[in-house]
Symmetry: C2
Subunit: 402 residues, 2 copies
């Protein structure tokens, strides 16, 4: 199943990107169906049992105290209402004092949203939308910067470990320069493993604290850690809400710091796992031969799926070829920037057989390219940060994509 | 405030990256404090009022029906317990039937986590951790792929609009080729604006549906949309939980699709806003002159902050300079790949004055670089995907970073 650049419409050209996102959709849906069946079979009996227990208790109470069931139910409806405003049967700490509100905004900007505290005034609700829009964006930026720094730190750490190992084993003299340079690259698996261990350590440490301070079992505390750190935040367990925590400042600060650290590490872990999943998809798609090797003037050029700009590429290259070009291989395809999401991996854009295609990003202005490539007979495509062709220049004769 | 490569330790070298993440931390903390003060002042009176109202109601009920307050409170404690298992005074639909469980896993993998449904069995809790780890990662991948495609689509759309506008205004003949190529690049502001409009449209449409089907006011529905789409998910409003929704299949499907679309668009919006925030920070840091222009052999080279690998760069370049090099400018700094988070923007790595530094990524193997740059007297740094120097080669004489 192959397509060529002479294909009709850019939006109809299938790409590995389309195949990948479709496959991902299908697999997520299947995963959710399987999860639904599993959780339903596990939790449904407990739900029915809880229903029966509660109804018996309600009937007993009504019989014991000689109260109409309807009256009791109306009280419970009032209680529901009161709960929304933060009232609990077992008195907890105030929700909307300054500490409580700080904890609340923390759960908003991190998108945990336990729901124990939620604004009840209309102004509060409206303000939340505006507040969250900026707050959540800033936190996403923070998470991304944190992830960047984690990778940098890990790279340095693994590099140093690797260098020490080589020195100790006395291999330095024997290994070639290439071996030494190649070996210490941390793989995404290494980074994921280290992050997994970090999340595990933070969760175990935090769970010990929570089980002491909140009176939860260790398992419950671990469950809380996952629910909070992954920003799911059900609100069935919420830390620091008991009345006697009002005065334990050190605990409240530790609670916030642990949550922050946990959320940051878990976000990073999710991102690295998603890279592994993506690699798995790419492998699957390669195996299933759903990827399309396109041909330009007889040169094998694999579609640039992971950059997310394959449509623009196809479109512009097709246009160029329609207009005719006298350029001979090698082709240099340059991308000046890529602000694509975390998984942009330009290196993977071209397969091994496409030796004559080089794609790079940087401040390569047209003049600099000319200077770089001199009078080579080559075709240079440059794209702007959104993958659009901003300059297409045959080094000797510029070609316009329009 | 300037530092030079001769500085002592790589981890102590200040960079724009460090300045940015520190500034971001401080500003987020201030933003949270301001938010806490604001929400506290707004919501605290409502909380106190609700407390008083509820206590009066409880006393009245206890007086009217001649029940001990303690007995009532113990009933309410049982009710709390029952609530965790999904029981409500106002009977809703079953939580753990297959549809309910599907809705539940949807809120888990998207990290919305309303908390109306949460596993109560120990096995369910343990399973959730494993299930969420993979599910959340897969969804993050989906969100990222969605964002990539959105940007691609918008690029194509804006490009076509721009081309049409030029054709209609008859400017084609008059504008220079450069103008035509530069003008139609969509800026991050354009993309953000379009995403903002998209989120607004989805939210308004969904809110109309919810206000009809759930009996909420339009404002409440809009508030629900924001809370759900941003994956905060308080759980004070949850769609599709009423008993009579059991049979409205079309509504349940529409509900899930709207949530999916809303979460995807809002995730993309948060990401583009975070890019704008980052640009703002860069501008601030430039203005405040907190950025350090480093000097290599008299050539101005700005730190590579946005790639997140500044430490490795500094470290290796310093090492190289210590060992001495006969290379003269221009320097070519190549990065073979960047799997950094969404905000990696290599173009911004070097300022305008660093004309002699070119950084690009692609499948530039050492031999290809040699072929590219010929016998130029230049220093070439290449890094692997984690920003580490995998090959440092002076085109005529290779230099090893170790």
């Amino acid at each position: 199943m192959k397509t060529y650049f002479s294909c009709c419409c850019p939006s109809l050209i299938p790409s590995r990107e389309t195949a990948r996102i479709s496959l991902l959709c299908v697999l997520i849906a299947l995963y959710m169906l399987a999860g639904a069946a599993l959780f339903s079979s596990l939790e449904r009996p407990a739900e029915l049992k809880a229903h029966q227990l509660w109804e018996r208790r309600l009937r007993d109470f009504s019989y014991e105290h000689n109260i109409n069931l309807e009256d009791l139910k109306s009280l419970l409806c009032h209680y529901e209402e009161a709960r929304t405003a933060g009232i609990r049967a077992e008195q907890g700490r105030a929700l909307w004092d300054i500490h409580g509100a700080f904890y609340f905004v923390g759960t908003v900007v991190s998108t945990i949203g336990f729901g124990v505290t939620a604004p009840i005034t209309v102004t509060g609700k409206a303000l939340l939308v505006l507040y969250g829009l900026l707050g959540c964006s800033a936190t996403i930026l923070f998470f991304n910067l944190f992830l960047e720094r984690v990778i940098t730190m890990l790279s340095l750490l693994i590099f140093r470990c690797h260098r020490r190992r080589i020195k100790h084993s006395g291999l330095q003299g024997r290994t070639s320069e290439d071996d030494r340079n190649e070996d210490w690259k941390p793989s995404v698996y290494q980074v994921t493993f280290i992050l997994f261990v970090a999340v595990l350590l933070v969760a175990c440490g935090a769970a010990s604290l929570y089980s002491v301070m909140e009176g939860w079992t260790y398992t419950q505390s671990l469950y809380f850690c996952f629910v909070a750190f992954s920003t799911v935040g059900f609100g069935d367990f919420v830390s620091g809400q008991r009345e006697h925590h009002e005065d334990t400042w050190a605990y409240q600060v530790a609670n916030c710091l642990l949550m922050l650290l946990g959320v940051c590490c878990t976000y990073s872990l999710f991102n690295t796992i998603s890279v592994i999943i993506k690699q798995g998809f790419d492998w699957m798609l390669r195996t299933l031969a759903w990827v399309f090797d396109d041909t330009v003037n007889g040169q094998q050029v694999q579609a640039t799926p992971s950059s997310g700009h394959v449509m623009m590429w196809h479109y512009c290259i097709r246009k160029t070829l329609q207009h005719g070009t006298s350029a001979q291989p090698p082709y240099f395809i340059c991308q000046t920037d890529s602000t694509g999401p975390v998984h942009s991996d330009p290196v993977q854009c071209f397969n091994e057989s496409a030796k004559n295609v080089i794609r790079f990003s940087g401040v390569c202005h047209r003049n600099q390219l000319k200077e770089l490539f001199g009078d080579r007979q080559s075709l240079i495509y440059t794209t702007n940060e959104y993958g659009q062709l901003s300059n297409i220049c045959n080094v000797s004769a510029l070609i316009d994509c329009n």
